[in-house]
Symmetry: C2
Subunit: 378 residues, 2 copies
Amino acid sequence: MTPVQTKALPAIWGFARSMIGRYRHEITTPALLLDLPVVRLNIERMAERMNGHARLRPHAKSHKCAQLARLQIAAGAIGLTAATVWEAAALAEAGVEDILIANEVVHDNKIFELTRTASRARVTVAVDDLNNARTLSDAATKANTRIGVLIDVDIGLRRCGVRSEGAACELALRVGRLLHLELRGVMGYEGHCALEPDRPLRERKTSEAMLKLAGAASAIRSAGLPVEVISAGGTGTYDLTGSYPGITEIQAGSYVFMDAARQDLVPEFALGLTVLSTVVSRQDDTLVVDAGKKTIGVDFALPRLVGVEAKTRYVSEEHTVFDVAPSCALVVGQPVEIVPGYCPTTINLHDVYHVIEDGKVVEIWPVFARGPGGGGPT
Amino acid sequence: MTPVQTKALPAIWGFARSMIGRYRHEITTPALLLDLPVVRLNIERMAERMNGHARLRPHAKSHKCAQLARLQIAAGAIGLTAATVWEAAALAEAGVEDILIANEVVHDNKIFELTRTASRARVTVAVDDLNNARTLSDAATKANTRIGVLIDVDIGLRRCGVRSEGAACELALRVGRLLHLELRGVMGYEGHCALEPDRPLRERKTSEAMLKLAGAASAIRSAGLPVEVISAGGTGTYDLTGSYPGITEIQAGSYVFMDAARQDLVPEFALGLTVLSTVVSRQDDTLVVDAGKKTIGVDFALPRLVGVEAKTRYVSEEHTVFDVAPSCALVVGQPVEIVPGYCPTTINLHDVYHVIEDGKVVEIWPVFARGPGGGGPT
C-alpha cells in the first residue's frame, strides 16, 4: 500500500459507507454524486469512438478514482494517464499496469516515488530537460528499474515542452543514451485548443498543433530513434486528435463526467457528476446554496443548477448565489444538484464519490491523491 | 474527538512530522509554508489595532488551524468565527470556548453537529429564515442545549441575510420566542466593499453598509429586544468597520497570512503564507512550477513568485506558468516560493502547514475541516 491510497480511506470511509442504500437527499451536503448509468454510458461511448489508429489512455486527473480507472480499462483503455506521481502510485495500487505521467517529475522525493511505482507497473514520464532526464536515469539505475520517456513538445500551449523539432531531436538523442530510461516517443497537449467554442476554428488550431507534434516525431525517427508513442488529446479535441494521422494515444479524461465548461463542446457525452447541495437562504430573487469554491471547481465556466430555472450570479467560498424568478418554489432546506464549472478541479475538493443508481447510494468510492505532494514517500 | 479533527491527523501526519528540523528545500513540493515570526507579528498587530469599542473574533475559514486559533485567543480575541459547522466543531475540539458560525446552518446532519458543538462551547449562528430558526430550536431543545442567534442582515452583498430593517425586526421578534435559542444581535458582511482598491470609495461603501447594519440593530432594539452583538468586518475593511459606532465584533481572518489579493489593500500586515514549489520546466522566457489550481487559491488575484522578477502568465491545475527574463537564473529542480492569490481558498487544498522559523521546519500543524461536509456526524 502506498501512502497515497491509505490516505484517502480512513478519513470519511466509515461514515460515508453508512450512506449506502440511502436516498440521495439523506447525504450530508455538499457532496459529490456520481451517476453510475451515465458514467458507464460515457465510458462505453468513448470506447466505441476510439476505433481508429489512436488508442485511449484516459486521464485520471479528472476522476482520481480507482474504480473508474478499472471501468475504463475494462472498456478497452490501454492504460491510464496521470498528472502527478501520486496519482500514478494510486493507479498502480489499483492494479493499472501501464501508466503515463503526462508531466515532468522533478523533485527528489517524487522521483523516488516514481521508481517505486515503476517497479510495479509500466511507467512512462514526460521529459523536456536533459538534467531532469539524467536524474531520472540515476534514480532508475539505483532502484534497478526502467522508466519510459516521452519527449514533451510544446505545440502551442506555451507551458512545458521543448520549443522546436531540433530541440526535441537533440533531447531524444541524449535521453536515448541514458541508462535505465527507455525512449518511447513524444507527447504534446493542445490545451489552447480544447476549449475553443468555434468548431471550425478548434479543428484548424488542433490540426496546427498536431502538425507540430508529428513534425517532432518525424525528426526523432529521422535520427534513427524509435517513436512508438505519439500522445495528445483532451476531451474537447479527442475526435480531432484521435483521427489525426500518426497519433497513437489520446489522453482525454473529463468525458467520463463532463461539466459546464465542456457540455456544449462535446454534447455526445452526458453529465455524470453533480454536487449535491442544500438551499441555505432564499430572499426574493436570490437563492443561496451551501456549496462554493471550496466544493466546486469554477475554472472556465460557472456552475449551473440542475432542473431549475436559475442564473448563476456568483460563487463564493461556501456559497453559490443564483438569480431565480419570484415564482421559483425552492425554499430553505431543500436539496438541489449543481453541475460543476470544471470537473478536474471539483473532484480534488472531495473525499468520496457517492455512487448513485435509481436515486439511491449504491457505493462509496474514494478520491485518491487529493493532497498537494500527496503525503510524500513513507 | 469529533470526526472533523480525527480526519485531518492520520493522513500525512507521520511523514510530515519527520520534516521537523529539516530545511525548507527538503520538503516535498508543493507544500504550504507558514512563516511563524511574520504570523505572530500579524496577530499582535491586529490585537493592537482592536483598541476601540469593537473586539476581534477572527475568522477561522482563512486558516482552519487549531494552533493559530489558540494564538489568536492568547492575543486577546474574544472567540473565533467559523464558516461551517465542521470548522466550529474543530475549534471547540481545539479548546475555543466562544464560536460564531457566520452562516446559516441548515441540513439536519449539520444541525445535529451544531447541537453537539453547542454542548461544549458557547455557539452562535446566523439566521435569516424563520423555518430554519424553528428547526434549530427543535434540535437544541431535543439536545437540551442552547444556541445563540444573530439575525443575518444583507448589507449590500446580496447573498444571505434579510433584506430590510422590517424583516430583521420581524424575524428577531419570532426568534426571540423560540425555545433554547438566544437572540444575541445582528451580523452583516460587507464582502462587496472588502476588495475595493480605491480607499475613499471603500470607506464610503463600507459606511453605507454599516449604516444598514446599525439600522437593523436599532429597529430590533426599538422592539424591546436585546442586541448585544453587532458583527461585521473583513481584512480589507477591519479598520473601517472596527471604528464604526456600535459595531461590537470584527470577523477579519486573512490578516494572519495575507495574499496577493489583499497585500496592497492593507499593507500594515505582512505576507506569512507561501506555497513551496519546484521549477519543473524552463524554456527560454517560460518558467513552470509544480503548483497550480489544485494547490493555490487564485480567487481575486493571480499568485506571485517571491523574490524573482516574473510575471504570472496563467495557472493550470498542476502548474503555474511565469514569464521571466532570459537572464533569470532559475533552472529545473530549484525551489521557489509562491504567494497565493487568495489565502482562504489555498489552505483547504493542503493537509498541513510546515511552520518555518530561521529557514527550518519547526512544527507541523494540521489543516482541519478540509472536506466538504466535513465527514458528517459520527
